[in-house]
């Protein structure tokens, strides 16, 4: 598990890279002060926050759906893109807020051990597990704001994945359409998982927690049919055509 910590003594902001290599921010009450503190941090270390997707760990606060949406909007205004929530109430998530995610290999090595252990992550909205079926077939476009979470196996989409849509699969991901959103394959630690799409305009490609953002991707591969796989700790992308 890749754990990096940039927390400094005396500062309550904590960010840890979890197994999917996303930055984790842990808001603490009072939220207003926490946002102000984040704002300061962004000024001093913008590269740490802006660009890579961020996960908000809500274990330390209790927020309603609209409060979460507001917080996410405040962070987005400051250039921080929130890709998922951890330890949020299933009841306070849904449309308008980022999807629930969980680090596939537990939270074992988070930095501030002084804190009481966070409650176990809320269950993510998974489709009904179907016994013996390891592929989820989605026969329409995945729209912005929608999340498909299928830890049990592969996901195949007949259609496009919109900008702002999210696909998380335990296995490989196949998109027969334009991939504009964020996809995470091999979310259960499957390093052999791959991502295939007929037209690549993805915001994020991740395999087993290692990711490439749109900016990191080779411009020559945009709009083409590509596949992505994991080579050691690096996500590689190559054209299929």
């Amino acid at each position: 598990m890749a754990v990096t910590s940039a927390a400094q003594a005396g500062q309550s902001t904590r960010f840890v890279c979890r197994s999917y290599m996303a930055m984790v921010l842990t808001p603490k009450p009072p939220i207003v002060e926490w946002v102000a503190e984040i704002e300061q941090k962004i000024k001093s270390a913008a590269h740490l926050f802006i660009g890579p997707p961020v996960v908000l760990d809500l274990a330390a606060v209790k927020l309603s759906q609209s409060a979460i949406a507001h917080l996410v909007a405040q962070l987005e205004e400051r250039g921080v893109r929130v890709m998922g929530l951890e330890n949020a109430d299933a009841a306070s998530t849904g449309t308008g807020v980022p999807p629930l995610v969980r680090s596939s290999r537990g939270i074992g090595a988070s930095v501030d051990l002084a804190q009481s252990p966070s409650p176990s992550p809320a269950p993510a909205p998974a489709p009904e597990p179907r016994r013996g079926v390891a592929t989820l077939l989605v026969d329409k476009p995945v729209r912005s704001g929608q999340t498909i979470f299928f830890p049990d196996g592969d996901v195949t989409v007949l259609g496009s994945v919109g900008s702002g849509a999210e696909l998380i699969a335990g296995g490989s991901i196949h998109v027969y359409g334009t991939l504009r959103g964020r996809v995470m394959a091999g979310s259960n630690g499957n390093t052999r998982a791959r991502i295939f799409c007929s037209k690549a305009e993805a915001e994020l490609l991740a395999i087993d927690g290692h990711y490439l953002t749109a900016d990191m991707m080779d411009k020559g591969l945009r709009d083409r049919a590509v596949q992505a796989w994991l080579d050691g700790n690096a996500v590689r992308v190559a054209a299929l055509d």
């Binding site: 609209s66 449309t95 308008g96 729209r143 704001g145 496009s160 900008s163 504009r180």
Partner: protein, 271 residues
């Protein structure tokens, strides 16, 4: 029985209210019985665009609360007797509109009109989901720019999840209405082109309404553009869209304000 149509967008300020008024009037002008319903509680503006703000006595919420009967709250348009308006409440709080109340009122309106057109508030919150809840058909209003298209994509996903029809496993009919289309800016590449918008949203096109000062002029006079200046570009675009809603097959054009001059023709079939 009536068709219930929601005019929605996700993003604010793209032209939902303008389009509700213009399409409602256009349908009435071609002989249909129409009611337009304002779901934007707290921002009562459909009545302003219709020039009926001084005639509002009872509103939508009064009806759902049983304070007024539906016929008392319906405001008949002075120019078009086939067109009626149910205004939103300016004073009440947004949560006063309940799902049961909306269901009852929409159910009654279905019996009285051919078309029930609901002007949705912006956003994807409760107000917007209530406005789409009982819709048979959705008109997704989009401007040819990235954030509007993305919000439309999002609202389409919500239409497929949160409407009564979707919950019953049926489909809400979806049509895309591109508004504020500016030919000059499109030529300079300052706007998304129509094909890109259609490709991203993969939803059939109902019409393309040009950006035109006629819209503002009409709205300042409290008159839908199809009534105020039926020959203007936006009015003709809305008339065509209204006919397509009725199932007619009309060639897709972008009408301009210069009379007799049509915008670029599209070799594409309408929704």
């Amino acid at each position: 029985m009536a068709k219930v149509v929601v005019v929605t967008s996700g993003k604010g300020g793209v032209g939902k209210t303008t389009s509700t008024a213009a399409l409602g009037a256009a349908l009435a002008q071609i002989g249909q019985n129409v009611v337009i319903v304002d779901f934007d509680v707290g921002l009562r503006n459909l009545d302003l665009v219709m020039g009926a703000e001084r005639r509002v006595v009872y509103d939508f919420i009064n009806v759902t609360q049983g304070i007024a009967k539906l016929p008392q709250a319906l405001i008949r348009d002075k120019r078009l007797d086939r067109l009626a308006l149910l205004a939103a409440s300016q004073t009440r709080d947004k949560d006063a509109l309940t799902e049961e109340g909306v269901q009852r009122v929409i159910g009654s309106l279905r019996q009285m009109f051919d078309w029930v057109i609901c002007d949705s508030p912006a956003g994807i919150e409760r107000g917007a989901t209530l406005a789409m809840r009982y819709a048979d058909t959705a008109i997704i209003v989009t401007n040819p720019e990235v954030s509007s298209v993305r919000d439309s994509d999002r609202i389409i996903g919500i239409l497929d999840a949160k409407t009564l029809k979707a919950e019953r496993g049926e489909r809400v009919d979806k049509h895309l209405l591109i508004t504020r289309y500016d030919q000059a800016r499109a030529a300079r590449g300052e706007m998304l082109n129509i094909d890109d918008v259609l490709e991203i949203l993969s939803t059939p096109l109902l019409g393309i309404v040009p950006d035109s000062e006629e819209v503002l002029r009409a709205s300042n006079l409290g008159s839908p553009v199809t009534l105020n200046n039926p020959n203007s570009g936006p009015a003709r675009a809305y008339f065509d869209a209204a006919r397509r809603l009725m199932g007619e097959d009309i060639e897709m054009t972008i009408p301009t304000d210069k009379q007799g001059l049509f915008g670029k023709l599209f070799g594409r079939r309408a929704a």
